[in-house]
Amino acid sequence: MLTDRADKNAEPLISLEGAGVQHNGHWLVRDITFAVRPGEIVTLIGPNGSGKTTTVKMVLSVWLPDTGQVRKKENLRIGYVPQRLALSASMPMTVARFMQLTARLSAAEISSSLSETGAANVLRSSLNALSGGELQRVLLARAIARKPDLLVLDEPVQGVDFAGEIELYRLIGEVRDRLGCGVLLVSHDLHLVMAATDRVLCLNGHICCQGTPTSVASDAQYRKLFGEHTAAALAFYEHHHDHAHHNGETIPLAESDAERSDAVPSPETINR
């Protein structure tokens, strides 16, 4: 099972205790308590404005909590995959140069990271010329090339098509297996991250509910927040994952894609 890979006794990479952020007299989030341990994938979900990004920014030390605490393991090395890049066309930047933005890497390290995310072919391209999906792969490759202890991804699937989304989550799972890093993921919906996540926190200004993807999906709070039909759509996934993990191995992508394509409702109905 996925959860076995997380070492429950290991020192948390990052832990938030009753953390909250206030802005202009309003609480953006409050009472946030959770930890990410090595090898664990934790997903934050919630509607727009529910405080997902604020919570991530506390983890990244961009915002300091106004209440509560954020504790980091000493010398914690974070790899961050932002939602998008405010890259102005006025800056010439190749993928190869961008890979070295915050770390010195050898050419071999750069190309192996890009290959891992399937972006090796754009090594010499300009960052401005990439499609949404290619840019996401490059952003992920850059973050994992740092060999982070904690990988943080803020809605990594924006601008990526449905098949690309599934592929990206599979990739994140693989990276976790190889590096043994903790992963904190922000997602706008639960159904796609089901396969790749150990624990889900459902946010709406505070933590509504948390637990395994299955338990969150059946939680009354979650259903209230996201609507019954979303929860129903999840049933398909549960079936697949029960099936896929009987032998404890990752499903080969091509197979799982083919398998899913008939059962999965169209993305429009899921995303509302």
Partner: protein
């Protein structure tokens, strides 16, 4: 050799052009062109205050530009006004205040065109020493903090997350820009200071494929403009500051044609 006013002018212009290259790139990347203009206009207020209080003019201009830069940083965070309105407010406020103070000081004879358009041919040996010292300091800071500046420009959150210090980077960059303005206004004057920052960088953008190459190319384009502009101004007896900018602008037009 330094006795020759033309050699001094050439050295001063080259010194300023070298540091204007990389700083100008950041001004372009971060969309700070109007911000640079505001600092340059504030320079006039610096000159006025410097003359009034009998301070070193370079430090007076740097001081006023730094104060304006830091207040903008604070105002942008807390004001209901949009950034461009704030910039216009401070820019023209400082310019008008500077002109008024200069006019009030009837006991000082001020060469206003020299302030507005630069007076590179009047550079003294001690001016050269200031340009050299400050230039080396700015270049060294740029080299040491290059990764910080670049990452902060691309994504401040990413910089913070991955152990850099974007808040410091932003502050230091603004102070470097204030230093740059204090140096440049002697060369091309208040009105053309941002031209020396932006035009070489814009030209370099069309010729290069990495941020570092763009910074170096911008310096080279700036140096070329200074050399050609100064010799042309000597040859045709035209004002040097505007001519340097005209050459830089011409190079930009040529770079447009080159790539089509």
């Amino acid at each position: 050799m330094l006795e020759d006013f033309f050699v001094r002018a050439l050295l001063a212009g080259l010194g300023v052009a070298v540091i204007a290259g990389p700083l100008g790139c950041f001004v372009v990347w971060r969309r700070l062109a109007y911000f640079g203009d505001t600092l340059a206009h504030a320079a006039l207020l610096g000159i006025a205050l410097g003359l009034l209080l009998e301070l070193n003019l370079f430090f007076a201009v740097f001081f006023v530009a730094a104060v304006i830069a830091l207040s903008l940083l604070a105002l942008q965070r807390h004001s209901a006004l949009p950034s461009d309105a704030l910039l216009g407010l401070l820019s023209h406020g400082a310019l008008a205040l500077g002109l008024t103070v200069l006019a009030l000081m009837t006991w000082v004879r001020v060469d206003l065109p020299a302030l507005l358009f630069g007076d590179i041919l009047a550079i003294s040996v001690s001016d050269l020493a200031v340009i050299g010292g400050v230039g080396v300091f700015v270049l060294a800071t740029l080299l040491v903090m290059w990764r910080q500046f670049l990452t902060e420009t691309l994504d401040p959150d990413l910089a913070e997350a991955e152990g850099l210090h974007p808040r410091w980077a932003r502050l230091v960059f603004l102070l470097l820009l204030a230093l740059m303005v204090a140096l440049t206004m002697r060369i091309v004057g208040v009105l053309l200071t941002t031209a020396l920052l932006i035009i070489p960088a814009a030209t370099a953008r069309r010729l290069t494929g990495s941020p570092e190459a763009m910074a170096v190319a911008a310096s080279a384009v700036g140096c070329f403009s200074v050399i050609v502009g100064l010799f042309a101004s000597l040859h045709w007896d035209l004002p040097s500051g505007p001519l340097i900018v005209v050459v830089a602008f011409g190079l930009f037009l040529v770079s447009l044609v080159r790539r089509g």
